[in-house]
Structure formats: structure tokens, C-alpha cells
């Protein structure tokens, strides 16, 4: 009884991991899609979301397999970057995801850690795939990245393997509140510093970051935030001589 329960528990864990790895395998494509939505609103000059979806889908479904079989036929036409992404990054990760179904994972912490490192290395290999390799006996721009990328793939696989072979801790618990508000605060700071200036941005970011814990007392936080803002507004531009905008642009003009 206990045994079957344990088994079903690992089974559900594994399916979650498999889904996670599949998502990881198409994460760059999803990221580009989200990025491309901005072009509808007129930000940036990338491809529209429609083209992004179709080009990646064809690359994933049709382009890459034909490239593989085409290479047997001796065809050496230049492959598009979508097809390369599918070949170098997505397919190996899909394979890993499928293999995960059949594994008993002894230490999820190591296993997932190793696989994600592998994914990072594969991504780096893809990102460096357009670079020139060895030219005679001298290194090209792409040689060293490829060397280290390959090494990291191997190391990631090794770490994942230890996660399969030796007992170890499972996945750690992730909190959401701290990371979320700290990140929102950082992103807000980055977006607001140019138009709004140090005084407004620093104070607002302070208050956003303070939301990262439920223990914050607001009056106290506001006083400290105001003091810190004042301190930074004096320290950076005046004492250290680093020029930065102080007040919102629309007020200055």
C-alpha cells in the first residue's frame, strides 16, 4: 500500500517535471512571442507575433526533421536560425523530458539543476552557432564558446546523473512574495529612472520593495524611505559626482 502510494507520488512528480522541461524546451520561442506582442503596440522593430508563431511552428514540426534527413542526402543549404534553435536546443530537451518519464529521481534538486544547466549550455551553443569556428590552427570567434558550451552540457548531464544515482534533497521550497516585489521594484526603477528622476523613483521603488514582506510597517517604512531617498539624492550626484536626473522631466521643463 505504502509502496504504491510512494510510486504514484513519484509518478505525479515526474509528470510535473516532464511538463516543466517541455516548457523549458520552447521557452525561447515563447519569450520571442511575448516580446513580439510589443511590436503591435509599436514598440521596437521586431517581427510580428503572427510571423513568429508560424516560423517557429514550421521549424519545430517540419523544418528540423527535413533538415536532419536532408543532411543524410548531402544537402548543405544554410539553415535558418529557427530550425537551428529547434535542432540544437528544443529537440535535445524534448528527448530529456521523454527520458524523465522513465526515471526514478533520487534527488530532484540535483536532477533539475543539472538539466537546467544543460539547457542553458544548449542555448548558448545555439546563440553562438553563427560564429566562425577554427580557421586552420587559430581560434575563431566561436571556438571558445563552443568548447565551454559543450563542456557545460556534459557537466550538466553529469549533475543530473548524480541526481538519479544518489539520494539527495528534493526540490526546495520557493517563496513568491519576496522575489516578486523585489523584482517589480527593480524593474520599476529601471523604467522610471530616466523619465521620473532619482527622487520619485527611489522612494517609489523603496515602497514596492518593502511590500516583499508582510512585516512591513508603513509609517516606519515611509520615514526610512524618505531618508534614504534624500541620502542617495545627495550622495550620488553631489558627493560622488555621478550625473543623474533628480526630478521628473515634466516638472523640470
Amino acid at each position: 500500500m505504502a509502496d504504491t502510494m510512494g510510486h504514484s507520488a513519484t509518478a505525479t512528480r515526474n509528470t510535473r517535471l516532464v511538463v516543466g522541461f517541455c516548457l523549458l524546451a520552447i521557452a525561447p520561442q515563447i519569450f520571442e512571442l511575448i516580446w513580439s506582442i510589443g511590436t503591435i503596440l509599436g514598440w521596437g522593430a521586431g517581427r510580428g507575433p503572427g510571423t513568429v508563431v508560424t516560423s517557429h511552428l514550421t521549424a519545430l514540426l517540419a523544418g528540423a526533421p527535413s533538415a536532419i534527413f536532408g543532411s543524410f542526402g548531402g544537402g548543405t543549404q544554410k539553415m535558418s536560425s529557427e530550425v537551428l534553435l529547434a535542432l540544437i536546443y528544443s529537440y535535445p530537451l524534448f528527448v530529456v523530458a521523454i527520458l524523465t518519464i522513465f526515471m526514478t529521481i533520487r534527488s530532484a534538486q540535483d536532477y533539475v539543476g543539472g538539466i537546467v544547466l544543460m539547457a542553458l549550455a544548449l542555448f548558448a551553443l545555439w546563440a553562438g552557432s553563427d560564429l566562425q569556428g577554427m580557421r586552420g590552427f587559430s581560434f575563431g570567434a566561436g571556438t571558445a564558446p563552443r568548447m565551454f558550451g559543450g563542456l557545460l552540457v556534459a557537466l550538466g548531464a553529469g549533475i543530473a546523473l548524480t541526481g538519479l544515482l544518489t539520494e539527495g534533497p528534493g526540490m526546495a521550497h520557493y517563496a513568491w512574495r519576496g522575489p516578486l516585489f523585489v523584482m517589480v521594484s527593480i524593474v520599476f526603477f529601471a523604467l522610471a529612472i530616466r523619465p521620473l528622476g532619482v527622487v520619485v523613483t527611489a522612494f517609489a521603488s523603496f515602497m514596492i520593495a518593502a511590500m516583499g514582506t508582510h512585516e512591513t510597517r508603513w509609517v516606519e517604512a515611509m520615514i526610512v524611505g524618505a531618508c534614504l531617498t534624500l541620502g542617495c539624492a545627495l550622495l550620488f550626484p553631489y558627493v560622488l559626482g555621478l550625473p543623474m536626473p533628480m526630478f521628473p522631466r515634466f516638472l523640470v521643463q
Partner: protein, 521 residues
């Protein structure tokens, strides 16, 4: 020998240099100040503060203050950053002894016996011995840097690209061997760091590598940006996991009688000496630096003590040895940086970042071309140690009071300070977002039990390694055996291979883990 005095004289001359300061708000009036002494004092103060406060590490602080040094003269900037590093070793002992909260990883073992002493009402002698030990170790280490500096530089100048590459491999292997936790994971982190260092323009061909046509990435990932993310932001996020309120039961009674008794002095003198020697050696070796030095010296004291059961119950040797060792190691770890240009640990990696910000390429040529910088820094260490003993002993009450600052107010302040700091380096908002992303990466790394320090080391050494590898192979016309046929390079690689084999052997692994076990008790 004469050279040594000459050099130290030059160093002290640099430190005591008087310059006239005429700020605009004094309307033409000038004040005589010594910028370098001032920087040394600021560094020592900030270092003590960081050491006292748990939740901010040395690496994070140096990363945070890196952008600030932008507007300072290079000598002053480096003196200040160095002061933070060894200052934190002093400050860390204070909270370990009084509150049983190590403010710094390097004083974790000090807490074991130090806090017991405080509970027995002997907090004063414990603090005094920690400070005296640190001061003694600091003085010895300063002399050691001065003595070893010149000959090592001469040796380094004889190095060709092949030797340099092998030396860096050895350094990275040392970092793996002396790091805590899995060897495989540490190597993976180094390679990850190397890979990150490849982003941006290629040094030789100028081709843009892995930059995705993002203009901010064309110059490569900023070193300060990654360090601030992985150490600063990630640490904050991680600390928030545990809840902002940390358990801080202060030892409330007044500290009376700072002076240790005669018996204390007799007991601790050999421990201080042993700690200093061990710390100095471990500091020079790349990898662990101050952290492993303190653990190792505590283990050593326990091993050779006549009555080991006293340890953990307030043995003064258990305070004296690790405190001397961590301070010695913190300072001697400057030796490989200043002479060979190779940073042995994460803080030194940040010092490389600080040097590059000021346009100084670390390496043996620094000592010849800018002797004032190197010797000024060495001389400032001795002065800094003197300042620290004053800052720490009579003013100990003030520092303890600082512990009452709650983390819920501290962490947003650190976030904002970091954000403004990163922004000010290049006036680039993208850098701030990148640091945030690396904060999340760092948080993930912590959750999966990866050490971020080797990553930073790999990132700093990456461009150097690639350059020397390429150069060595170009000279040898693509012949990889050059690394083995040149004797010096072969020896270095052999040591590296030997070390790696040793760590994989099970018996030695057990020994290595034993050194770190004290932290879990």
C-alpha cells in the same frame, strides 16, 4: 631587503599624501586632507558594519560599492574596497561572540566558543583576543605581501601564454577543491561563468558573440551587474524566504573588563600564531580564502589540543585561532591578485572589476608600472588594521546596537542603493534589469545548492583564459602539446590534475567535509 623598505616607504608616502580639498560650498577655502587615509577609514568602518550586520555579505557589499568608486581616484578606491574586506573579518567576530549570529561566513566557527565565553561573562576577553589576534595576523600578512610581492612578480613576468593558461586552470581547480559541496557542481559553475564571460565582442575578431543584437550586451555582461545580482539581490530574496524577522537575542549584560587575563594570553598566543600561519597559506591558495581558513584553523586547534572536550564550551583558542586565520587569509589573498593578476576568490574577482573600471589591467606589470598603487594599498592595510582595532574594541557597544535595525527596513534600502549604484555605472537602465535577472538566477542557484562564488571567478578569468589559450596555440601553430612540453606549464597542470584526483578520492573527501562540519552544529 633594501628594496622592501624602499617600497614600503613609497607605500606609506602614498597613503599619507596630503591633498587640498576645496569644495564649492567653502567658496575658495581649501582644507588639507589625506584622501587615502579617509578612504581607508571609510572602508574599515563599512567593513565593520557589514561584518556586524547579518544578511549582507562582503561580496555583496564590495559589489554594491563598486559603482561608487567610479568617481574616486584609483588608489583611494582600491584602498577602500580592501578595507571593507578585512574590516568585515573584524566585525564578524563581534556579533558571533555577543549574539551568536555570525555576521559573516568567516566567523561562523568563532561563534561556537566565543558565544559560550560571552555566556560565562567573559565577552570582554573574547572580543579583545579576537581583535588582538586579527591585528597580529593582519600585521604579519601585510609584511608577507610586501616580502612576496616583488619576487612573485618577477616570476610572473617570465610566464608565457601557455604558463598563464595553466596557472589559471590550477587556480580554478583550487577554487573547486577548497569550495564547499559537490566538486561537479563547482566545476559546472566555473564553466557557466566562463560562458557568461564570452558574451559580447570577441577580443580578436570583434565579432559580436551571443549578444542577440542588444546594444547593451555588445560590450559584454557588466561584471558589477552580475556580481550585484548573484550576490546582492539573490541574497536579499533568499533572506526574505526565512521571514524578515531574524532571531536576535542580544546578550544584554554590560561588557566589563576588556582586558584578557595573563592565562588567556598564554593560552591564546600559540593559537594565534598557528592561525596566522594556516590562514596566510590558505589565503594565498586560490579558492577558499578567509572562510576555509577559519574552519581549518578551528579544526586544527581541536585536533592538537590536550583536552579537546573544552572546545564548544568557551575555549579561548577556539576564538583566537579562527579570528587570526580569517584575517590573515583575507589579506594574503591579495598576493595572487597583485602579483599574478589572478583573483583567488570572489572578493578579489570584484577587485579586478574595480581595477578595470579605473583602466588598470591586473597583472605583474601593475607592480612595475604603478608601484604607488600596489604599495599604497599594502601600506594602507597596516594602517587599516590599526584603525580597526580602535573601531572595534572601545566602540563595540555602538556596533551591537546596530543589530537592532530590523531587516524589514534594511532590505528595501539595499535594493534601492544597489539599483542606483548599477544605474550610475553606465547610466543604463538595462543594466539594472539585467542585475535583477541575475538576482533570480542567483536565487535559483542557491535553491539548487550551487555555489555562486566559482561562477564569479570563472567570469573574471574567462577573457584572460581565452586570450592566453588562443595566443599559446597561435605561437605553437595549433599544437596542443605546448601545455605539456613547456616545463613550468606542465608542472602547473600536473598539480591541477593531482588535486582533482585527490578530491575525487573518497577518504580525502571525507576530510574535506569534516572541515566544514563545524558549521552545521
Amino acid at each position: 631587503m633594501f628594496d622592501l623598505f624602499h617600497n614600503l616607504g613609497l607605500g606609506f608616502g602614498v597613503v599619507f599624501q596630503i591633498s587640498w580639498w576645496s569644495p564649492w560650498w567653502l567658496y575658495g577655502l581649501s582644507l588639507p586632507i589625506s584622501i587615502n587615509i579617509l578612504m581607508c577609514l571609510i572602508g574599515a568602518l563599512v567593513g565593520t558594519l557589514v561584518g556586524v550586520l547579518p544578511g549582507i555579505g562582503t561580496v555583496a557589499t564590495v559589489a554594491m560599492l563598486l559603482p561608487i568608486t567610479f568617481g574616486l581616484p584609483p588608489v583611494g578606491a582600491l584602498i577602500m574596497l580592501a578595507g571593507i574586506y578585512y574590516g568585515a573579518q573584524y566585525g564578524g567576530s563581534t556579533t558571533s561572540i555577543l549574539v551568536n549570529i555570525p555576521g559573516e561566513a568567516t566567523s561562523v566557527v568563532t561563534a561556537i566558543d566565543g558565544h559560550q565565553m560571552a555566556k560565562q561573562g567573559r565577552a570582554g576577553p573574547a572580543l579583545a583576543i579576537a581583535a588582538i589576534g586579527s591585528f597580529f595576523a593582519g600585521c604579519v600578512a601585510t609584511v608577507l605581501i610586501a616580502v612576496l610581492g616583488a619576487p612573485l612578480t618577477k616570476l610572473a613576468l617570465a610566464f608565457g601564454p601557455a604558463e598563464y593558461f595553466s596557472l589559471m586552470v590550477l587556480g580554478l581547480i583550487f577554487a573547486v577543491v577548497l569550495a564547499k559541496g559537490s566538486v561537479l557542481k563547482a566545476i559546472a559553475m566555473i564553466v557557466f561563468g566562463l560562458l557568461l564571460s564570452m558574451v559580447g565582442s570577441d577580443i580578436e575578431t570583434g565579432a559580436s558573440r551571443m549578444a542577440f543584437n542588444i546594444p547593451e550586451l555588445a560590450d559584454g555582461l557588466g561584471f558589477a551587474t552580475v556580481a550585484m545580482g548573484v550576490f546582492g539581490f539573490a541574497e536579499i530574496i533568499r533572506n526574505l524566504d526565512a521571514g524578515a524577522e531574524m532571531n536576535r537575542d542580544l546578550v544584554q549584560q554590560k561588557i566589563t573588563g576588556l582586558m584578557p587575563t595573563k592565562k588567556d594570553m598564554i593560552d591564546s598566543t600559540p593559537a594565534i600564531l598557528r592561525g596566522t600561519v594556516l590562514g596566510s597559506i590558505l589565503g594565498i591558495l586560490p579558492g577558499g580564502g578567509a572562510v576555509i581558513a577559519s574552519f581549518a584553523s578551528y579544526t586544527l586547534e581541536k585536533k592538537i589540543a590536550k583536552n579537546p572536550s573544552r572546545f564548544g564550551r568557551g575555549a579561548i583558542e577556539g576564538v583566537a585561532a579562527p579570528e587570526s586565520a580569517n584575517n590573515a587569509a583575507a589579506q594574503t589573498s591579495f598576493i595572487p591578485l597583485l602579483t599574478l593578476g589572478i583573483p583567488p576568490n570572489a572578493v578579489m574577482a570584484l577587485m579586478v572589476g574595480a581595477m578595470t573600471i579605473h583602466g588598470i589591467v591586473p597583472g605583474p606589470q601593475v607592480m612595475q608600472k604603478q608601484p604607488d598603487l600596489v604599495w599604497g594599498m599594502i601600506a594602507s592595510m597596516w594602517i587599516g588594521n590599526l584603525m580597526l582595532i580602535i573601531i572595534n574594541l572601545p566602540l563595540v557597544g555602538i556596533w551591537v546596537r546596530l543589530l537592532r535595525v530590523p531587516y524589514r527596513l534594511m532590505f528595501p534600502s539595499i535594493v534601492i542603493f544597489c539599483a542606483i549604484g548599477i544605474y550610475s555605472v553606465n547610466n543604463a537602465p538595462v543594466d539594472v534589469i539585467l542585475a535583477g535577472v541575475f538576482g533570480l538566477v542567483g536565487y535559483w542557484l542557491i535553491k539548487h545548492d550551487f555555489e555562486p562564488a566559482p561562477l564569479l571567478l570563472g567570469m573574471v578569468l574567462g577573457p584572460l583564459m581565452e586570450e592566453n589559450l588562443r595566443r599559446a596555440l597561435l605561437i605553437s601553430r595549433g599544437d596542443w602539446s605546448v601545455f605539456l612540453t613547456r616545463p613550468l606549464s606542465a608542472v602547473l597542470l600536473a598539480i591541477a590534475a593531482f588535486l582533482l584526483v585527490l578530491t575525487v578520492l573518497p577518504t580525502l573527501r571525507a576530510k574535506r567535509d569534516e572541515v566544514f562540519t563545524e558549521s552545521e552544529n
